[in-house]
Symmetry: C2
């Protein structure tokens, strides 16, 4: 493990590893869920030598916010929570937020094109990256941090590195877009009978009176477990197959909500009530963790196929004897669902494969926001054609002919 | 010249050209300003054989708008104006608009990552591309058109092809993001004393009460020529070094304007007045064309350097005896200025080089929205480091080892 303190030191490490034929595994906060920053000896991609982990956690410098541009340049090791605070202190907001904010680094979130709860409003991490600095596998440093909103000078290297999961280089710094602070928000929890109804409720709020900040969905099973770990009462009068949690930036007076015809709704106008409603969404994962080993999936499913696909996933999982519990939640505006499965052993990947195959049949993506990493490398062909994978590999091989930069990740 | 009618036909042409060692030049509406779709025999990149132009103008199919996703899939040969109309007929808007809308094709605007007047609100073309279909230099077809908002399955091939100016393949279709139709707009024309003041007026409207749809700037010289060709009167009471044209989606009642302290302002509330004000911006280019051969520049300059950089450009051009007229206009929110120079012969590229070198000195980009094409290929190193160009070239060489796909473009 090396912990470089500068871009030059990162470059020196990458060059030294190249000369010695030793693999390099870039690592940020190590909060990824697909093993993309986990060193492995042996196995796919490793040719014997144990890799050097390049931890970026010492590179935590942040420039002052550029208020004219609405941008900021930070080093890759900055934690997401510190970037968020830095932006807020200057009267701006960073566009990405996710549960691992206290540990995840900017570099890691860029390398994985992290999503999170504000994608509906701000887009993925790639949409925030206005410039990048990185050490490529040959040890060369590319630095393009001016952050010009229009800059058509050749290929989009920043966009390519974003989402490459450390296979094309070590990201050392980035120029990031910031956003004006939004008005206060209102939160609503709504019970609905189907995923299609959940999608319709979300659609009523998109492009509407007030910016839609978040649109989360979770099923009755998730709510039951969240209620159980929170020790609170049931939030609605009745039980519903699906719950939708909406947050709109309407000044906090509820004027941004469009809830005609929905009679079982809880609205949170002040901070306490907003946080109370969010807690159901945020604690459901903890609820599942109390009931055993959890297999977690992160998939995208087109809206029009979502209802049928989820039904089929449940049918398939229902046929597996070891499965004791299934929960579905996600970011409904982004077509991104997470499936939680309790029962099968941690090492039993057969349910994982079954779920991903159903998703692919319905035209979905096997990775929405977590990436491919090592965990899904052998399933990449479910979402990408041979021609696409060959085109990706050609880039990887051209930049990293020795195959030393995060081997085993993305490409099996 | 071939005019394929399907993706398979494009692939067959690319494979045949590869087998024969003949260069391929993809062409859309041929409205680019840097020669990126212009075939050239001989010169940089051509090894003797005259290229085959692959015109995409027969591939004009459009799927119905997917109202659930807010997306549409269209073939590359669709003209921008037809896509805009198609979206509007379904109650949506496409995010990109530019003067060449009647001829420019979707494929061409993607290949060049076109900008235009709505970048402040919607981003560049790359931000609209949710999926892509393309024929790569080896004749393979990649097709990823599901348009899932979250889809972290390997490298961002769509983003890479967008802006590659036909050097990495022929774009045949795209899945494009659409936007909800905005409220009616108000237009204001404001006279200001400096570029810094123009930036401040723009900033007052960004992230404000109403979405800022456009923020254009032009100098007194541009206004004079626009007034001259329009045959209208001077729009303001006085003359100013700079004019700012703002358009805000405030419902058309002017409530979105923040013009405290500015006393010489014309506001257009109804359609006629809005178009009358826009005409000054839209006809300035025509005004310049009446005064001789025009050298046109498309550059980005960081906001904080803009005032100084433009002054330096004017100083440098003032020292060139043949220069008779200089005008500056552009998209002020996007740091994107266009410089118009009249006087030097069309073939005299010395002023072009002088301007681009000044821009690079001030940390700007030599191409904001037009691309590199053939015209700026030998100036790419003013905006990109050797390491960056090497990284780009490695991708180009990996995908196109014969160097037959739009040779001479981007890379000199």
């Amino acid at each position: 493990l090396v912990r470089p303190g500068s871009t030059d030191e990162v470059a020196a490490v990458v060059r030294a590893c190249g000369a010695a034929g030793v693999p390099v595994v870039p690592q940020g906060g190590n909060t990824g869920l697909v093993g993309g920053s986990v060193p492995a000896s042996g196995g796919a991609g490793f040719s014997g030598a144990f890799p050097v982990v390049v931890s970026m956690t010492r590179m935590t410098a942040m420039e002052p916010v550029d208020v004219l541009a609405g941008q900021v340049t930070v080093q890759a090791g900055v934690r997401l929570v510190d970037l968020q605070r830095h932006a807020r202190d200057a009267g701006w907001e960073y566009g990405v937020d996710l549960a691992a904010r206290d540990s995840a680094t900017v570099g890691g979130t860029i390398a994985t094109n992290a999503g999170g709860i504000h994608v509906v409003l701000r887009g993925m991490t790639r949409a925030q990256v206005m410039g990048i600095e990185a050490v490529l596998p040959d040890g060369s440093v590319i630095s393009h941090l001016a952050g010009l909103p229009k800059d058509n000078t050749g290929f989009d290297l920043a966009g390519l590195l974003c989402g490459s999961e450390g296979t094309l280089g070590v990201i050392t710094a980035a120029r990031l877009r910031l956003w004006p602070v939004l008005p206060a928000t209102t939160v609503a929890l709504v019970g609905v009978a189907s995923l299609d109804a959940a999608i319709a409720v979300m659609q009523d709020h998109r492009g509407g009176r007030a910016p839609l900040v978040a649109a989360e969905v979770f099923d009755d099973q998730c709510l039951e477990l969240a209620v159980s770990v929170s020790g609170t009462g049931w939030p609605l009068r009745h039980r519903y197959p699906w719950l939708v949690l909406l947050e709109v930036a309407d000044g906090g007076d509820g004027s941004g909500l469009v809830l005609d015809g929905l009679d079982d709704v809880v609205i949170g106008l002040d901070r306490t009530d907003r946080e109370r409603l969010w807690a159901y969404r945020e604690r459901l994962s903890e609820g599942f963790a109390t009931s055993g080993v959890v297999h977690r999936f992160d998939v995208s499913i087109p809206h029009q196929a979502m209802e049928g696909c989820v039904a089929q996933i449940r049918t398939v999982l229902g046929s597996v004897g070891s499965v004791t519990r299934v929960g579905v939640f996600g970011h409904i505006a982004d077509t991104n669902l997470h499936v939680l499965v309790v029962g099968p052993d941690a090492d039993d990947m057969s349910v994982d494969r079954m779920v991903l195959e159903v998703v692919a049949q319905y035209g979905g993506s096997i990775s929405a926001e977590h990436g491919i990493g090592r965990a899904k490398a052998d399933a990449l062909q479910l979402s990408r054609s041979a021609a696409e994978i060959a085109a990706m590999r050609a880039i990887k091989d051209a930049w990293d002919p020795q195959g030393l930069m995060n081997p085993g990740v993305i490409f099996a």
